[in-house]
Symmetry: C2
Subunit: 218 residues, 2 copies
């Protein structure tokens, strides 16, 4: 029942919490269930993290920090050339690191699903903390995308950026569950296949012209 017996208490709690939050949600997951699964004492969560909310925050910040740093490094590298950066590459820099978390055997696939789920419901107490993790990433990428979409107003870029987040997040959330949804057509473990399909979908979507209120192209 307990997992990763070689790790220290704090890490075991984080991994157990990640798994249970993903399967049951935050509200429905008790500290008792977490500590039992981690094979540690009930009081350990409050000792190491202080509260359940603080534990939730720790679950996110532990992985979101490195993930968003990687995104920014990839974007930096692209923009360092000084030339016009292709839209596909920007999208890939944003989407790739998130989906490639699935390759990390130590809980990567689980956190990816958790992140995909949480992106579409940052309400309640953890909301601020969660969104704060993207304070640097969102403006950098909207700006980079906006530079590719010449003449498209910032407001339009924000809309399309939201659509991109949604397509990516849902893909992450459904990871490991696509065989069922597709009638066996899709192999959920095919991360690179997902990227090869998602990046063009988003890139072409980003380029699409907004319809005018009367139904014509704008």
């Amino acid at each position: 029942m307990s997992e990763n017996e070689g790790l220290d208490t704090k890490e075991r709690i984080l991994q157990a919490a990640e798994n249970l939050f993903t399967d049951q949600g935050f509200g429905a997951t008790s500290l008792r269930a977490i500590t039992h699964r981690a094979g540690v004492n009930l009081a350990a969560v409050n000792y190491h993290f202080g509260s359940k909310d603080a534990l939730i925050e720790a679950v996110f910040s532990r992985r979101l920090g490195p993930l968003n740093r990687e995104r920014l490094e990839l974007l930096d590298a692209l923009e360092a050339s000084g030339e016009m950066v292709p839209l596909d590459r920007i999208v890939e820099s944003f989407v790739g690191p998130a989906l490639r978390m699935a390759h990390d055997p130590s809980g990567g696939p689980v956190f990816m699903r958790l992140l995909g789920q949480t992106i579409s419901q940052p309400r309640g107490t953890i909301r601020e903390t969660f969104l704060h993790q993207f304070d640097e990433v969102f403006p950098r990428f909207t700006a980079a995308i906006g530079r590719c979409l010449d003449g498209v107003p910032p407001k339009e870029v924000v809309w399309r950026f939201m659509f991109m987040i949604g397509a990516m997040g849902h893909t992450m959330a459904m990871s490991g569950d696509m065989e069922l949804m597709s009638g066996g057509l899709i192999d959920s473990g095919d991360v690179e296949g997902a990227i090869r399909r998602l990046v063009p979908f988003i890139s072409e979507g980003l380029r699409a012209e907004t319809l005018a209120p009367d139904g014509a192209k704008s």
Copy 2:
């Protein structure tokens, strides 16, 4: 504190549940909170619905039935002409009814957010019931979209359909919350504006060619 005092107990419970589930999630919302908000007795939920899970199911089936029926009717109307149906119109038939729920003053906007959130996390006990609501809609629309994407294998269509669901669901979930995310650029209440942007994004995304494993177009 209680809402819609003119309605009967069952309806008041459903509306209160919808609101609280949307803001706090299923696990974190207690029957006490629901009955208190509805202004009815604590025992009323179990009398009218039998259990909390059955209430959750009722919250969804009440609105998802009519919504998906409308989608199918729109698709029927498009296909009745016998001519080739434009991709944009198919996408609009799927996305439009969901986003236009926001126009229904009796809880439409709230349920839209709830639906957007739940689409990306159908895990646990309500999963089967929730997905079952789409048994007819998903195959009909994937088939219709596949007919527009001549020569694209069914597997590819399923992938892209998932991206579409994600873009739409996230838009629904973020509804009412976009001012904050966009720094005041976007008016969350602009439903038709959302549709005018989302439909082209998805349509062009659906048409995008999957990259080959070596990075070339397939």
